[in-house]
Subunit: 644 residues, 2 copies
Amino acid sequence: MAADCVFSAVPFTRVALDDPFWAPRQAVNREVTLPTEYEQCRKTGRIDAFKLAWKPGMPNEPHIFWDSDVGKWIEAAAYSLKTHPDRKLERLVDDVVALVAGAQQPDGYLNTHFTVVEPEKRWANLAEWHELYCAGHLMEGAVAYFEATGKRALLDVMRRYADHIGQVFGRGPGQKRGYCGHEEIELALVKLYRATGERRYLDLAKYFIDERGTEPPYFVAEAEALKRKGWRKYGWGGGEYSVFQAHKPVREQDEVVGHAVRAMYLYCGMADVARETGDATLLPPLRKLWAHVTRKRMYVTGGIGSSRHNEGFTFDYDLPNETAYCETCASVGLVFWAHRMLQLTGRGEYADVMERALYNGVLSGVSLDGRRFFYANPLAAYPAAGKGAAENVAAERREWFGCACCPPNIARLIASVGQYVCSESDDAAAVHLYAQGDVELHVAGRRAGLRMTTRYPWDGAVRMRLTPERPTAFTLALRIPGWCAKFALSVNGKAVRAAARGGYARIRRRWQAGDTVKLVLAMPVLQAEANPRVRMDCGRVALQRGPLVYCLEQADNGRELRDITIPPASAFKPVFRKNLLGGVAVLRARAWRRSPRDWAGDDQALYRTTPSARVRVSVTAVPYCVWGNRAPGREMLVWLSRRQ
Amino acid sequence: MAADCVFSAVPFTRVALDDPFWAPRQAVNREVTLPTEYEQCRKTGRIDAFKLAWKPGMPNEPHIFWDSDVGKWIEAAAYSLKTHPDRKLERLVDDVVALVAGAQQPDGYLNTHFTVVEPEKRWANLAEWHELYCAGHLMEGAVAYFEATGKRALLDVMRRYADHIGQVFGRGPGQKRGYCGHEEIELALVKLYRATGERRYLDLAKYFIDERGTEPPYFVAEAEALKRKGWRKYGWGGGEYSVFQAHKPVREQDEVVGHAVRAMYLYCGMADVARETGDATLLPPLRKLWAHVTRKRMYVTGGIGSSRHNEGFTFDYDLPNETAYCETCASVGLVFWAHRMLQLTGRGEYADVMERALYNGVLSGVSLDGRRFFYANPLAAYPAAGKGAAENVAAERREWFGCACCPPNIARLIASVGQYVCSESDDAAAVHLYAQGDVELHVAGRRAGLRMTTRYPWDGAVRMRLTPERPTAFTLALRIPGWCAKFALSVNGKAVRAAARGGYARIRRRWQAGDTVKLVLAMPVLQAEANPRVRMDCGRVALQRGPLVYCLEQADNGRELRDITIPPASAFKPVFRKNLLGGVAVLRARAWRRSPRDWAGDDQALYRTTPSARVRVSVTAVPYCVWGNRAPGREMLVWLSRRQ
């Protein structure tokens, strides 16, 4: 482990949540989403693809992305099995694993599309054809399933594949000096290294990281070779290597560019390699990239990637709301990256963004019933504008997608969400996210139970009861979120004065079983302003309370939400509504809108120069993460006009 | 002439403007724009195309649109020659006419592309290949040149072509029952009818109008025939006939849809046929279409067509500002249509829109120096967002375009702008637009001079001196614009009380030479609100004074214009600045913006929940029609945040 690692995450296997926010979502994920996604994979041919029985002319031609969907589903299922054993599910995974294993070629290669559809094109188009990306997701699934069940079958398959990849790629004679157009293999190889202890997988991950963006550009030669063969197949026309974050060596990169999901996975891989190799040269670019995305290119929901056209970043402060892409996978990737940076640095700024993305831009990606998914997570919905939109930018969640990366991505995140709650080190434990449940900490060489009791995110009071095996001295670092301006802390009923430094209030003492810490985070309604350069949000604010960003929905507030003018934050009152949207605190206030009577009727002029009257209206805001769960395909709005 | 015709426009040949607003623009149009456009046509091969010398492999392959550009340039040059004879220009036109004439085929057919490039495809794709559109523009040029010079050469050529078209198209045996995908031929044939008195041209125009959108759809059979031959060439894939306004018979159309320019030209043709044939069944759809576009689909600038994707209409109240297409040609077409409706009805609502489009969305299409043109006229410009945009949506005016419809369109409009000033009938004269100059009215069987003295649009005072040949009784109808809430009227110094009915104040008397009418239109600064369903403009207003819509430019107000919050209209003061942008009244006020200091620095957070401070700033608004004439490629904004 590199010298500057501050923390290790407490794995989700040692975090059992029984809170009203995450526990029901985990149950739905387990009981509905996982079976639903398996069924979708089966129905669409993704499972059977591994039988390698497809022949030209048959339906369900294995697509170049498909293997990755199955890999992610296996990973999600594995996480669930680890905390909630389920024989039926395990048998299902075993069956899939057998199919996957059967698809492996004698040389270790494993890819359904390039085995049965275009075998002659193996490794011919790393820029666009996603082979290493698919390999990475199968590796992640293999590691997760091994760790969940101890079963080595898939792990061994993926080791053989990784060994094959290690033979094909590298700087040795006869090897390809390439890397994947869609990053993922890097972080997956680090997981494989951690699971097996085989250093060569870490070295291979480092090779892919180091090689990226070097001269001469691999993709140029590749594109030329493709052209000679007449094999250009997908959209990338060459030239803009920034799409793949391959425009310069990763250590020289300081701006997040291109495809958002690819960027996130790359940065995760960089952080992993930095951590495992101790390569400190990867940290400065990671810090610069972090500052860039969070200060110039991130939505208030933790969504990233402004444009559907490149599924990625555009230019600084360009954060359109109605056409925001904010792919669910990109926010998932941001959580992954933030989590890694948090372990490396212990700084609250990473936890703040992790929480922002998790509670808002990620969770909005799945319906409360666990059956439907958003690919894009816009910050405003206007039904007429969405008519005829592509499935990945539809204004309603859908059951599945042709390119189905998002549904299993959110499933694996929810199944393992416990790992984001706490971290531990030799002499400290940190609580990053507050959620009711039991955590088993390993700190200062001992086990220590931590029971959290809280209604977070609906309430900022958290009671923590510690039960170390025996009295143990360590620092308990409690995150004071960036949104929290005031907090109170007590130990065993006695107020403790602790400043929040780097986002954490720290209490160092010899903890005894039964010690109780109480933290109360003030959780007023806030109104976020965006930087004036975010031209779309000028004159507007986003309602926020605790980690949750709120929105107005048509169901509560009628049409033409943009015409509503809200009062200052202090006028809003949170009201918990048990029967609404699974139980949420809504925010209510009296507001204004232009008198609909002044503008009623089809013969009304489009423009008028006499100021129209205003009427008082009640507004109700709901958490963004649950929008679109009532009447889908209606208006929604995050950035609200504020009385000035 | 149909029974319900109220007015005839006073032709531009009887209107000599010497005002500070239009006269300089006409001079620049004559002295700079016309020669520049000729040179562009020549340079790009549009002129030489008529030599029919192009062979495969040669540069400058005649494009299917090209003939129309030359036709419009001839028309613009003709209007200029009529009022400002210019031997050099006339010789130039004569040379072009000779080339055009030489390109006519023995059977009368005349189209450069389908003579030399794809002769086998003549009339094969009316939906997309623009032959009748090109024919129409050459006809308009021919009529204008004949009327300007008395020279018949081009008129005769185009008559022969029209006769050929009349043989090819129609309901007789062996004829094609088609119509053009890009309307234009209809209104052109009416002009040809008026110039020649040949009824068959009017009948052919009526045929094209009547046939449009009938069952079975012509374009379906055409598309099938194309497919059989493998000839599909351009973008339209079949199905959406609304692109061409061919989704139903024109008399059943009540919503403006599809390509905006095509729609305008069709409605012009419908109005012309209604007027000349007395076909009253065309008027109800025209009125419905008018109500629809002006009440639901028109920008405050008179721009129309929200989307670059279809160059046309999207859905009701969908009027995005930064991505507004608002093609210059579409606003030109709206002026044409409004002008025709105004003659048919005498109602001020048509003049209001005509004025709105003319002074704003049309004029913005050309630079003050007459050398550069906008194809799209957005209502907001943000440089970073426009980077890499296509030439037709660039944030700076350009010298020319591959598809160069707009530059000669605006040139022909400016050269003939006098025709929009007044109308006349047997017993009335109407003044629609106020501009300093001399008009020769023909009213009640006599000539009457009308001298207008005014600084309009900078000032609302207009002095009108009448000089009838001899004392004559008629009604003088003076337009009271929709934007004007208060006016004062006097005749020979004596106040006259006249209500504005239907947009006009009417004075009936026996006019004598030297009678003087004074009209003072109150011209305060106004703030237009858009209907709340225009979601982009909620919380925002557009500054307007007289007929001019104003905008903020970066040159006067710095960056991030959307963050400026303006005070009510009454706080704005007009200030005439002689040396600015050719002499304009700017609007000035004290306003607010968020303190840049609160947000300075690259390390500034993207979001903050403590309200940022506001600072006072001075704002200066300039007329929209002159934006982008100083430092091009900078920010501009029409809809401004208003303090609420």
